[in-house]
Amino acid sequence: MIANYSVACRREELKSIRDRFGGELAANGITGLLRDQIVLAVDEACANAIIHGNDCDENRMIRLEADLREGVLSVRIFDVGKFEFDPKLLDRDIDYFIRHKMKGGLGLRLIHAIMDEVRFDVVDGVCVCTMNKAVPVS
């Protein structure tokens, strides 16, 4: 386990999640652009759980868990909020976002572009976002 902590559902926590998780990646030999991209994917997934899943309710928490095994980094984000997924969002071209003056909707796309495997599981009311990525073994 290279990370295992909970944070309250506040947008302001995102910065410390990035700093902390980025530090953990570096400590495990994941650096440079690869580190930056993984931190971005994790930030996006946490932002979704905080904002969409839990409506930024500070009394609720999300939990982040990560491990690195046999060259695969696996990050899991747990939340007990609501979950929504519309695959259409992943297919729309950028013009659609511009025409509709959309402020959001690109986060999942970034996550999918960066990570090798992305899945959401809802089990007993808990939503888990699992993101895996092969990383160079140091």
């Binding site: 930056d36 904002i51 690109l106 986060g107």
Partner: protein, 120 residues
């Protein structure tokens, strides 16, 4: 030059120049700070600014919510003949535009001087 402190350690400094405005964004443009940045940008647009140079030398991080500010305001600016020019973006920030295929939507140059030539 007016400087505004924003959450997540983001700072915005707008510097009007002849024919446009240079905006120095420092810190992180994430799902938290982009709310304030969006209000800020909308205010400048409503004041009539159309030629924006975003100086990204001190922009350490951008998330999709930050990109969303540029995307959602694009038509309002470009429809008036305006533009968003980014100069001096760091590799890791520029990379986020690239991953999403946004590099053709806006103008990217390396220095503030090049950017200023494009609007003069």
């Amino acid at each position: 030059m007016n400087t505004t402190n924003k959450p997540s350690g983001m700072q915005i400094a707008g510097e009007p120049i002849s024919g446009g405005i240079v905006v120095l964004i420092s810190g992180d443009l994430d799902a938290s700070s982009s709310l304030a940045f969006d209000s800020w940008l909308k205010e400048y647009i409503s004041e009539g600014h159309t030629q924006f140079i975003f100086d990204g030398r001190e922009l350490a991080y951008i998330a999709s919510a930050g990109l969303g500010v540029f995307i959602s305001n694009k038509d309002d600016v470009y429809d008036q003949g305006g533009q968003f020019i980014f100069c001096g973006l760091r590799e890791s920030v520029r990379n986020v535009f690239t991953i999403l295929g946004l590099t053709d939507l806006f103008t990217f140059v390396s220095s503030r001087e090049e950017a200023m030539e494009l609007i003069s």
